[in-house]
């Protein structure tokens, strides 16, 4: 479904003025209608990879293919319209735009209370309380995170990128979150997560660390982690 060919991403370290490798020579494929979970320690480049898929950042070198088409130079908007949908690790706040305004944009229609109810109840929020709330600092972290998910669901698409969707969501709702992913059956799902419960539903796992990456069937990759319990993630 989505293929990365020799993808590297470097940034310029402002202090040393040297190039810093964030991702290097990545060759992987995210399989159609499967769940891939990306895991790895903080700063290993997980969010960076999601941004490259969405088009928010451009690779320093290499290409990205979507169903065989080279999308490396496509804008964020074009990729969104192709069917790539992303829920951010850190939801963006908007001064002056309400939850309804954003759900209208996401679903590309003027939503009514029923629509909003449907999107918000899936993520465990009561529509009436939130529909006219501004998406600003007055919402709690968990609320923002749920609304971020609701926007992704309202938009729909073929490939869903969820960056740490469980962050800030209370344990009680964890099962509900898993249900959301399971419901997106005939979609390609890529989730960044550190949580066992989310790793459990993965078909494939991509492990990133500061010396490289490893991708494969869940059991292959997770088995390795288990076998080298005392080894650090970076040594796997």
């Amino acid at each position: 479904m989505i293929k990365l060919k020799d993808v590297s991403y470097y940034v310029l370290d402002e202090k040393t003025n040297a190039q810093k490798e964030i991702l290097k020579d990545i060759n992987i494929e995210f399989k159609k209608n499967k769940i891939t979970v990306i895991t790895g320690h903080n700063g290993s480049g997980k969010s960076t990879l999601m941004k490259l898929l969405m088009g928010i950042s451009k690779p320093t070198s290499g290409e990205i293919y979507y169903n065989g088409t080279n999308i490396t130079d496509l804008s964020v908007t074009a990729r969104a319209n192709l069917g790539i949908t992303m829920a951010f690790q850190q939801p963006v706040r908007f001064k002056g735009l309400t939850v309804k305004n954003l759900l209208d944009v996401a679903s590309a229609k003027t939503t009514n209370l029923n629509d909003v109810c449907e999107y918000l109840s899936t993520v465990g929020l009561c529509a009436k309380e939130y529909i006219n709330r501004e998406l600003d600092g007055t919402l709690s972290g968990g609320e923002l995170k749920r609304i971020e998910l609701a926007m992704a669901l309202a938009k729909g698409g073929e490939v869903f990128l969820f960056d740490e969707p469980e962050a800030g969501i209370d344990l009680w709702s964890f099962e509900e979150l898993i249900k959301i992913f399971k419901k997106l059956k005939n979609k390609t799902i890529i989730i960044v997560s550190h949580q066992n419960k989310i790793l459990e539903i993965a078909d494939y796992v991509l492990l990133l660390n500061n010396i490289g990456y490893k991708m494969g069937k869940k059991d292959e990759i997770l088995g390795k982690i288990e076998n080298s319990k005392c080894a650090r993630l970076s040594e796997v």
Binding site: S75, V76, K155
Partner: protein, 305 residues
């Protein structure tokens, strides 16, 4: 009434028909419809152009509409409106001015409004400004608002410049007595080569007086805006000014705050932030399928709402 008159009135005063209650509609310098009620009287001035709006004491939940429209190319209107709000009254006042000018000559309206706000009375005042019409012909608006607030009164003023105004120069002066409370919300959008200047001077002279000025502005293209505020605290009082601006393209916003605490018990705060739209807001909307321009427009619309 012509179609363009209706459109202007609708946009500046939300009027779809003749308003209920007291009103005065002014077109090209003349009243084209007016009504007084026993609670709110409208009296034309005899010595100069304008009206007196007299709200009787203790009148509650009544409204008065006094919109102005200018449709004659090159017409320059000057009007003095004086409001006398009786003690204990509670009213809603809708003013505003719409200019339509398709010519190359400049049209303008200078409205000088003076409010005498009686003891313990409450006023909500909305003033929208709009310019319509193609061509270079200026649409110039220079509103002046003077507010004298007696003990325990409340005044909430909302001014909205919706766009299309070539140049505007607003002046707002207020004097607040004991426990008077003033709230000013201002929203200004400028595009092309437009200029907008807004100046506030609020003097808090007695204990318990408070003022809150919230200004949100968006400047696009080559437009320029200037925000000047001066709050003087001469008692045990509170003042807060907040000026938020978004700039795009080659636009410029200048904010000049002045807070002057003449009394040791005065507490005065000024906040100002000017900058472009946060990149991540645009990016997020683009991930939902909007183009960059659509994203910017939506953010601006929300911001000015």
């Amino acid at each position: 009434m012509e179609k363009i008159d209706e459109e202007l009135l609708q946009q500046i005063a939300d009027l779809h028909q003749v308003p209920t209650g007291s009103y005065n509609i002014r077109k090209n310098g003349k009243s084209i419809g007016s009504a007084s009620t026993k609670e709110i009287e409208i009296v034309p001035k005899t010595n100069k152009s304008g009206i007196d709006i007299i709200v009787k004491p203790n009148v509650k939940n009544k409204s008065v509409h006094i919109p102005v429209i200018v449709t004659e190319a090159g017409f320059k209107d000057l009007v003095y409106n004086d409001f006398y709000i009786g003690d204990g009254a509670d009213v809603f006042i809708v003013a505003g001015c719409g200019i339509h000018n398709d010519s190359t000559k400049a049209s303008g309206h200078d409205g000088i409004h003076t409010f005498h706000i009686g003891k313990n009375s409450k006023v909500k005042y909305i003033e929208k400004h709009l310019g319509l019409g193609k061509n270079m012909g200026g649409k110039i608006l220079n509103p002046t608002t003077n507010i004298i607030m007696e003990d325990g009164s409340e005044f909430e003023m909302e001014t909205i410049q919706l766009g299309g105004v070539t140049s505007s120069n607003r002046l707002t002066n207020a004097k607040l007595k004991k426990d008077a409370k003033l709230i000013i919300k201002e929203k200004i959008l400028t595009t092309d080569n437009q200029t907008a200047t807004t100046k506030f001077k609020v003097v808090l002279v007695k204990d318990g007086a408070s003022v809150n000025v919230i200004s949100r502005s968006v400047a696009k293209d080559n437009s320029k805006q200037k925000f000047v505020s001066k709050i003087v605290g001469d008692a045990n009082c509170f003042g807060h000014v907040e000026c938020d601006g978004i700039i795009l393209n080659n636009a410029r916003i200048v904010s000049i705050p002045e807070i002057d605490a003449k009394n040791v018990n005065a507490s005065l705060v000024h906040e100002a932030a000017i900058g472009k739209i946060a990149g991540e807001e645009i990016t997020k909307l683009m991930t939902l399928g909007l183009t960059q321009t659509e994203a910017e427009d939506l953010i601006i619309k929300g911001y000015l709402n």
